[in-house]
Subunit: 377 residues, 2 copies
């Protein structure tokens, strides 16, 4: 039996809460590192908990394509595969149907997706997404939804909302038939509606009527721009139950995190911090560093002199990492990915502390000073 | 002032010793992990010491090409670049002149090597190799030698020995002019001679006459085969001073390590353990595992259930690593590289323990049982 406990805050303000699961409690606002194929890309898994990670995300669709349903089950589901004994959320593949759009065709019943490994077709339906996640045994399963390919086109978003609501009803029924909360698995829905307030409202209200365990805001950070994204968040959170957890999918720059927390979001995931690290960008309290820049060639400082992570404590200076990036060495990208995730988890801790202390606004302004109030994030 | 202390053993038997340096003592027989460009390829640097590493190798020629002499100096030499506060040995580029043979032309004075980074030519001479290593400040500098392109062709090996001896005299004089042992840097020479006993003997004796701090056996593990390699070792160590350290360059399979220790070698380096790991091979007490094999798809065991390394303690099963290798994920290769190095360092500890206990022969037979007395190593 999993549930959210709102400790502080209201519907559209910074909130402190706890997501209680059979595998431990997650302090919110929280950030979930992304182990798409049950493996992080950069940090070692034993580095996740010391940096403050309490919940992990992995991707049901990707694991379904490789190593496949039976193998994931044989390996003990997503917990067995990752070696992570805390809570895990699986994404349903709705976003992959969007991001792999060249390989995807919508059908009456779901998506037909070209199999990225074996060739052939996968008929990825709400029922299959549900059943695969039931078999993979995450603590939280996401609904299969429709992330509109064109978030600025009303007709596309309207269609996506209609299908998302239709599938939500279908998957909620499957969940109830499996025992609901008693199954050990929580079920989160996803609010779509693009940049259109009325569609966001309609989608949110339709989902709330089905009474999910958690509510995600989806279809954001897909190229619509910062202001449209935050409007999408506001237009969603305003219609969600006060006391249920809200999860903003795929968001994870320092600026976006504090801005979304300010609007009432409790949970995040994003590959950006680790990906940016693998390409040479380091996050610090004073903003980003692009370690490939020539200015770092002779720099004997650690990545971030104020940081206690394994990479910053290694004694390896920025200059070595820059030369390593240039020579396509493996370690610099792994080290920066780990550092950036450490930075983000540290930021989440500061967010939680500052909400409790009533100093969130000041803390947010400092982040915006370093990461641009309206810049690239 | 650095020196070798022979604790146990003689010229051509398993030896226990200590290499004393201003940055700590290295228990021998010892294995040096290879940080070619000041960065390991797999393990994080903070993982090296806990697994038993006491000395690191890095490559003066590669660092000279990138990031370059001035940058390496600005970053604090090889210790500053690697963050490693124990002893470091730098290779001179003699082996690179061999392995990059398509880019290399021998000249009267050294090698002309195509610059692998900037284009143009590098005139890599004994004097430059000496000066670059003096500037990079390793604890041990290797001589520039000639690793014969054809170790089975007597004329080629004879020429290589002649040039190696000529250059050795030149570099020993440069070392003495710089203060010799008082410079803080030890100087190791390299015995060449291919598969020809008389050439090995001549080269060894010529080098011993110049009285180096350590003696490497070079030009091995270059395709000459196991028996020829071990003959090359025997034909070298038989002519080296009992009380000086002997270093077998580029050797590091379990079989080759125990066989070379049996013939009186004290020090090793090799990229093989980490490279094999990055390509999916794991070392265990019971032999190699090729994790890409289908038999491991559903395997819930850690890489090596008997191992205490970070990878084996991660809770990530073999099946996840296999699927990750198939999907070109980064972490499986890094984890196996780290595990393999941990295995090798553990093997070195067992070698040292068994020499002390008088049980080396039994221990060696166990390794040969698992890794093939005459197989692929």
């Amino acid at each position: 039996m999993q549930y959210f406990e709102l400790l502080q805050g209201d519907a559209q303000s910074p909130r402190r809460g706890q997501w209680h699961t059979q595998r431990g409690t997650v302090q919110t606002p929280a950030f979930m590192p992304v182990a798409t194929r049950a493996l992080m890309r950069g940090p070692w898994h034993h580095q996740l908990r010391p940096m403050g990670t309490e919940m992990l995300l992995t991707n049901a669709f990707h694991l379904f394509t490789r190593p496949g349903l039976e193998t994931v089950q044989a390996l003990g589901g997503v917990h067995g595969m990752t070696g992570w004994d805390g809570p895990i959320l699986t994404d349903s593949g709705g976003f992959q149907a969007f991001s792999l759009s060249k390989m995807t065709r919508p059908t009456d019943k779901g998506f037909e997706i070209d199999h990225p490994v074996h060739g052939g077709k996968i008929s990825w339906t709400p029922q299959l997404a549900f059943e695969v996640q039931a078999a993979f045994q995450p603590d939280v399963a996401m609904l299969l939804d429709v992330c509109p390919a064109e978030p600025l086109v009303e007709k596309t978003c309207d269609d996506a909302v209609r299908t998302t609501l239709h599938w939500a009803k279908e998957q909620r029924a499957l969940h109830e038939a499996r025992g609901g909360a008693g199954s050990g698995q929580a079920q989160f829905c996803i609010v779509q509606g693009g940049v259109f307030p009325a569609l966001r409202e309609e989608c949110a209200k339709g989902l709330v009527a089905l009474d999910f365990d958690g509510y995600a805001v989806g279809g954001v950070s897909v190229g619509e721009g910062f202001h449209a994204m935050m409007a999408g968040v506001e237009n969603s959170t305003g219609h969600l139950p006060l006391k249920k957890i809200r999860y903003l999918m795929g968001v994870g720059t320092p600026r976006d995190l504090v801005e979304a927390v300010a609007r009432g979001i409790d949970l995040f995931d994003c590959v950006w911090p680790t990906r940016a690290g693998r390409f040479g960008t380091a996050l610090t309290q004073h903003g980003r560093l692009h370690l490939l820049n020539a200015q770092f060639a002779d720099d004997t400082s650690p990545i971030d002199p104020e940081c206690s992570c394994d990479a910053c404590q290694s004694g390896i200076p920025r200059g070595t990492l820059r030369a390593g990036f240039k020579a396509k060495e493996l370690l610099p990208g792994m080290m920066l990915a780990q550092h950036n995730l450490h930075f983000i988890q540290n930021l989440m801790q500061e967010i939680r502390n500052s909400i409790e202390a009533g100093t969130f606004h000041t803390m947010k302004e400092q982040i915006l000073l370093a990461y641009g109030a309206d810049g690239a994030g």
